[in-house]
């Protein structure tokens, strides 16, 4: 069942003071997100990711098109009660403490008074802010604010969670924690739609991704499918600091990293390469077929437009 169905959603802004001219932020977008999946909305900065999320949240109005969330029109009040949203680089009422903020959002989301305090406590615990519950948000670090942001987005047990660049600006530990939280949401059966330009996060988390560039949808698919096509190359890693000349003769592209060497070469020369390593008595670490990474796919989707733009410039 499609939980999010975007039906030709489009946004054009008018820019300029004297000579007004249209600026297309999002070309007609058609997209379906299925129940219970983590869906990554990928694109470089300024691609139209945030515009799409703002349209779905009713913060900006579409020039054309519509969307359905949980089978209802995306502007339906019932929809708002069943979704959670974390904006990009969130900023909250900094005069409130974390507990007060979540209490307030709980009130606005219609969480019953008898459950609110318990839910707030659970959320603060879940995002690791129990000890900072009584601290005003103006004293919070960026990572702590991001955690509060996630807590407010899932406080009311939404069925669908929209996260705009949830890992942006976080340190590696913070990113890991957010990733774990998103995986927990999936385990709870929630649908997660998140935008990012950090491809490793998308690759690690997403069931499916869509790639958007210059307001235009370039590709959609399951991460496993997009990254499964073997390029006909193999990566061999062994321990050592010198590359045997016999291996160079096979046309291997070698990189030395610490006390290991990584060589990429055509699949047909794999046996010859392994024999060469055996002759030199070098310790083999791994042999892995080279697959198309999400990054390769992402770059491939963006390239045509950039080349076209380059040709016309």
């Amino acid at each position: 069942m499609a939980v999010i169905e975007i039906l030709g959603l489009e946004k054009t802004y008018t820019v300029g003071f004297w000579r007004k001219r249209p600026k297309c932020a999002l070309k007609p977008l058609h997209l379906r997100v299925e129940e219970g999946e983590i869906f990554g909305f990928l694109g470089p900065n300024g691609a139209g990711k945030t515009t799409t999320l703002k349209l779905l949240m009713g913060l900006v109005f579409p020039t054309a098109g519509s969307a359905r969330i949980l089978g209802l029109d995306f502007n339906h009040p019932q929809v708002k009660a069943q979704i959670g949203f974390l904006p990009e680089q969130p900023y909250f009422y900094d005069y409130l403490t974390a507990r007060e903020l979540l209490e307030y959002y709980g009130q606005l989301s219609g969480v019953a008074a008898k459950d609110r305090s318990r839910r707030v406590g659970e959320m603060l615990d879940q995002v690791g802010l129990k000890d900072a519950a009584g601290v005003q948000l103006r004293k919070f670090s960026k990572g702590m604010l991001q955690r509060v942001g996630i807590a407010q987005a899932i406080l009311h047990h939404p069925k669908v969670v929209f996260l705009d660049e949830p890992m942006s600006g976080l340190d590696p530990m913070g990113r890991r924690e957010v990733r774990d939280l998103m995986e927990q949401l999936k385990l709870q059966g929630k649908t997660v739609f998140f935008s990012t330009h950090i491809l490793s996060d998308a690759e690690a988390l997403c069931d499916r991704v869509a790639i958007i560039h210059q307001g235009d949808l370039r590709g959609v698919g399951a991460v496993a499918e997009l990254t499964s096509s073997i390029q006909g190359k193999v990566e061999i890693v062994w321990q050592g600091t010198l590359v045997p000349s016999s291996l160079r003769a096979l046309g291997a592209d070698c990189h030395v990293t610490g006390d290991a060497i990584r060589a990429v070469l055509p699949e047909g020369r794999q046996d010859a390469a392994l024999e060469a390593l055996g002759r030199e008595r070098l310790r083999l670490i791994s042999v892995i077929p080279v697959r198309t990474s999400l990054e390769d796919y992402f770059v491939a989707q963006l390239k045509p437009v950039e080349e076209t733009a380059g040709a016309t410039a």
Binding site: Y13, K54, M57, G58, L59, V60, F61, P77, Q78, K80, A81, I83, F85, L86, P87, Q89, P90, Y91, F92, Y93, Y95, L96, Y104, Y105, Q107, L108, S109, G110, G149, Q152, A153, F162
Partner: protein, 258 residues
């Protein structure tokens, strides 16, 4: 009233309190104490008149400054800081947000006025050693001041819904000044002819008539306020504030939060 409006209003009140808006009461208390002591020493028989005039004018000005400078940021600051995003992505209608903000600031101003009123009466008691019957009219003057706050708060919200805080402050302050001379503007309109008369009359009736809501001087001179004026001013202020609020809602309902 929807529960969400109450929650937004109480959060706005909390914001005002934590942003130290009510600290103006300290300045007001100092002003009233100083004035009462000074007036008690230099005035002969007009202590009450001076204290009422000074006290109520200060209540009005302090409140107006808060209404304008806090009111202009009510919407624009939330857009600028993007705090609005997490509110409007919940089951909160845009009109509920505007109305909640209005009641939050109006409530702040009422509480502020209540404490300042205590200061005025304390100063009055200090200079005349007892209350008298005509002091009750001071309460009517304070009520009219609160009505003025409702109008200016709604106007500040209206301007805040489509312009920058600076421009909203300029518009709101300009209307406050012009509105304070609304009766003079109407008198001027009556003296003109032709198109000028139409334009001046239109402008005179468009701006809020703060002069009709200002009975400070007559109350200071112990003149009673007619019940009809109380009724008329109440209706006028409520209708004017409601219209300004409707304007704010209409604009905000269509606004893209970029």
């Amino acid at each position: 009233m929807s529960a969400r409006i109450v929650h937004i209003a109480s959060n706005t009140f909390r914001e005002a309190v934590r942003d130290r808006v009510l600290y103006n009461l300290i300045a007001f208390a100092l002003l009233m104490s100083g004035a009462a002591i000074l007036v008690g020493q230099i005035s002969i028989d007009i202590e009450r008149l001076v204290v009422i005039n000074l006290g109520l004018t200060a209540v009005s000005l302090f409140g107006m400054v808060i209404a304008i400078f806090f009111g202009i940021g009510l919407v624009s600051k939330e857009i600028e800081k993007r705090t609005l995003y997490t509110v409007l992505s919940r089951p909160v209608q845009r009109w509920e947000f505007i109305v909640g903000k209005f009641f939050g600031l109006a409530g702040t101003l009422v509480v502020n006025t209540f404490f300042m009123a205590i200061g005025v009466f304390a100063a009055l008691l200090y200079v005349s050693h007892r209350f008298q019957g005509s002091d009750g009219w001071v309460l009517v003057a304070l009520y009219f001041i609160i009505l003025q706050f409702l109008i200016i708060t709604a106007l500040a919200l209206l301007f805040s819904s489509f312009s920058s805080p600076l421009m909203a402050a300029v518009f709101a302050f300009a209307l406050f000044v012009i509105g304070s001379f609304a009766e003079d503007l109407r008198g001027f309109a009556a003296m003109t002819q032709g198109v000028t008369r139409w334009l001046a009359t239109g402008a005179a009736y468009l701006v809020p008539n703060f002069s009709a809501l200002n009975v400070i001087s007559s109350v200071a001179h112990e003149q009673p306020v007619a019940g009809q004026l109380v009724l008329f001013n109440t209706l006028y202020a409520l209708i004017y504030a409601a219209m300004a609020l409707c304007g704010a809602v209409l604009i905000f309902e269509r606004r893209n939060l970029k």
